[in-house]
């Protein structure tokens, strides 16, 4: 079954869909992957890597069968691949360069003959020879890479099958995906075993996200890759392998997430990107607007051109002015933060403060113990929050009352404290101090990286009455980052993306850490 599944995946995927798995196969063969990207500046080299023999290899990835027609259509790029030498800060001044053209399909005989003829000419001109790598070779490498880790128990097989057979349009099952990753990476792992497993995890993630690549569902590709990266980090943290070879696989997964964010940002920046495609309920449109600008903001914070940043800020301002953003519940908090952080970095402090204050006012109004209409908690996804909102309005039914508390109250308050918004907080304090703050603290550092953490404690707490401002300032300036796993502690970009992908992990230690790093760069 596994060979057939890989074959099915490989024949349906485009080049972006298999690039991470391909990068992982290079890592497994002892290569060092320097870059995976598709940009006008890569000059035909989608993947750049250094071989164990210190050769520099450039790979151009294709997602079609290559005949003479395809060869001729892409000839310019192929010339750039073969005839220009790669440039990268990690490359030595002198090296042997080898170009490769890779496809998940086949090379026809005339195309192979054409390559041979061109190679003779390139060799005569002192250029390197081009080597073709076809789908069969890719298939063999990928099957070997994960062959020991395929699910065999019926529940695991069912879980895998359900994750694989998706529409790829919004139906990413994050909890199930995380559970699959956890099963794959569980146990006490030696350094070597950890390396094998993280390699397999990246390959399996590529399989499971294949349909999202086909549908170009960038948002869920981003979520999938961040969850993958988080679980690679989880396995390493649990096994105490802080500096072992898993970090390159982690970087591949993280890069894949950034690439997905980048594709989403590019789409957001096009004219009429936010146009509804059919008859659409405004709440739905506003939800999409909000999630999309949140992701776009995150990408701008990580690395984005000035043009895109300016465009993103303009779009946020436009949406905010026209009331076209909907922060659907407490799981929207990381999205709000991404927007606020970008606005601050771009000097739009007033709007940033208004957004923070708006969320605080919402908490004060709707999250106190007597409320009948609280915000949904951060464990409720954007998708489910909108479903609940629709059902509450179209089919209102009396429901049993539940205690109301807020997971976002503490981090939100501390963010406002860090911004010295004492006056604004004082005005809201009589209502805000009625809200019960809840927070979850994993017992172990790796617990932060889990989608569902069994080992930890949840605690409800209210602010002291009266509450010391000085104490709040102390809390705000000293997030307990020593409790965090290495990746969340040291890599604020991963922290920012992790918050968006796992919106219920809204601990001050993570948020405060990212806040300090982002605002330091502002």
């Amino acid at each position: 079954m596994k060979e057939r599944l890989v074959e099915d995946w490989l024949t349906r995927i485009n080049e972006r869909g298999y690039q991470t798995a391909f990068g992982q196969s290079l890592l497994a063969r002892g290569f060092r992957v320097l870059r995976i990207s598709h940009s006008p500046f890569e000059h035909g080299k989608d993947v750049l890597a250094i071989s164990p023999g210190n050769e520099v290899h450039g790979y151009q990835l294709k997602g079609v069968d290559i005949g003479v027609k395809e060869w001729e259509a892409g000839y310019g790029q192929i010339c750039a691949l073969v005839e220009t030498r790669p440039s990268h800060p990690a490359l030595p001044s002198d090296y042997v360069y080898r170009p490769f053209i890779v496809t998940n399909g086949i090379f026809t005989d005339p195309a192979l003959d054409r390559i041979e003829q061109h190679n003779k000419e390139w060799e005569r001109r002192g250029c390197p020879k081009l080597t073709p790598i076809g789908g069969k070779e890719l298939h063999r490498d990928l099957v070997n890479l994960a062959s020991d880790f395929w699910p065999v128990e019926p529940p695991d097989v069912r879980k895998f099958r359900a994750l694989y057979l998706v529409d790829g349009r919004g139906d990413f099952a994050a909890a199930e995906f995380a559970s699959f990753m956890r099963t794959l990476l569980a146990g006490e792992l030696s350094t070597k075993e950890l390396e094998r497993r993280v390699a397999a995890a990246n390959v399996f993630a590529s399989y499971l996200l294949g349909e999202f690549y086909r549908q170009e569902d960038h948002w869920n590709l981003f979520r999938g890759w961040i969850l993958t990266a988080a679980h690679l980090s989880w396995a390493a943290e649990r096994n105490g392998h802080q500096q072992a070879g898993w970090t390159e696989s982690f970087a591949l997964a993280k890069d894949a997430a950034v690439t997905a964010l980048s594709a989403l940002a590019t789409e957001c920046a096009t004219d009429f990107a936010f146009m509804p495609r059919g008859m659409e309920l405004d709440e739905y449109t506003c939800l999409r607007n909000t999630v999309a600008v949140g992701a776009w903001s995150a990408k701008c914070l990580i690395n984005e051109s000035e043009t895109s940043r300016r465009r993103c800020v303009e779009q946020i301002e436009c949406f905010a002015t026209e009331g076209r953003l909907w922060f659907w519940g407490e799981s929207a908090f990381p999205t709000l933060l991404a927007v606020v952080w970008l606005l601050e970095r771009e000097g739009r402090l007033k709007l940033a403060r208004e957004l923070l204050l708006g969320f605080a006012a919402e908490l004060a109004a709707n999250q106190h113990p007597d409320t009948l209409n609280p915000m949904t908690d951060p464990y409720v996804s954007a998708d489910d929050a909108l479903k609940k909102a629709i059902e509450a309005r179209t089919d209102p039914q009396k429901k049993r009352r539940n205690p109301v508390q807020s997971y976002t109250l503490l981090p939100l308050t501390l963010l406002m404290v860090r911004r010295n918004m004492r006056k604004e907080l004082e005005e809201l304090w009589p209502q805000l101090s009625l809200v019960t703050a809840t927070f979850f603290g994993p017992d172990k550092s790796w617990g932060y990286l889990e989608w569902h953490c069994n080992e930890g404690h949840e605690r409800d707490q209210t602010f002291a009455q009266p509450q010391s401002w000085k104490q709040l300032v102390e809390l705000a300036t000293t997030p307990a980052i020593e409790r965090l796993p290495m990746t969340l502690r040291n890599d604020w970009q991963f922290g920012l993306m992790f918050l968006l992908a796992v919106p219920h992990r809204i601990n001050w230690s993570i948020i405060g850490n990212v806040d300090q790093r982002v605002t330091a760069r502002s």
Partner: protein, 192 residues
């Protein structure tokens, strides 16, 4: 593509469909009484030797989308209702068209310059089969009249209200129909 939310989308579609079908099924008094039978397979259907003629009813609405803006909640679901009502009207029109040919199960009161009267009532029911319940009471067919005709009926009660003479004629009519009904009933048996 920008993010999509299939769970919410399904909930919205479900609520919209409920609004639409509620309006379709209940807004028109005629359509509300018409039983709906859905053909499960095939593309043709017959009652006896008569092929059922399917007729298409079609409703549509237009909306000019704007970047980042959807349809406000109340407007969105009001569209479901108005489209359902419009569809019901079309279905009612198709029903009336089908019923305009008199048969054993339907009759048409043709409007004229003079007011509707008792004689019109009896003569239009003449060709119809009337069934009787277990207590022997006639199951009168439901009548549908337009608003104008209904106003005229109310104004001219004398023309069709039951006098002694009319009661006698009605009783005769019922007896005749009962006899027809009994004969029909007697024919419902197995023979060699």
């Amino acid at each position: 593509m920008l993010p999509e939310f299939p769970t919410a989308q399904e909930a919205i579609q479900k609520a919209w469909n409920e609004g639409f079908f509620k309006a379709l099924g209940l807004s028109d008094p005629l359509v509300a009484q018409v039983e709906v039978r859905v053909q499960k397979e095939g593309t043709k259907a017959f009652i006896g030797n008569t092929e059922i003629q399917f007729k298409k009813a079609h409703v549509e609405h237009q909306w000019k989308p704007e970047n980042g803006k959807g349809i406000p909640f109340d407007d969105f679901f009001a569209r479901a209702e108005s489209l359902g009502q419009e569809m019901a009207k079309q279905q009612a029109a198709i029903c009336f068209e089908a019923l305009s040919t008199p048969g054993p199960h339907n009759a048409v009161f043709k409007g004229s310059d003079s007011a509707f009267c008792f004689e019109d009532f009896l003569s239009s029911l003449e060709g119809m089969e009337i069934d009787f319940d277990e207590a022997g009471m006639p199951k009168w067919p439901a009548a549908f009249v337009g608003g104008e005709a209904f106003a005229s009926l109310r104004m001219n009660r004398k023309a069709w209200s039951l006098t002694e003479e009319r009661q006698r004629r009605l009783a005769e009519f019922v007896e005749r129909k009962r006899k027809d009904f009994d004969e029909r009933k007697a024919r419902r048996r197995l023979v060699d």
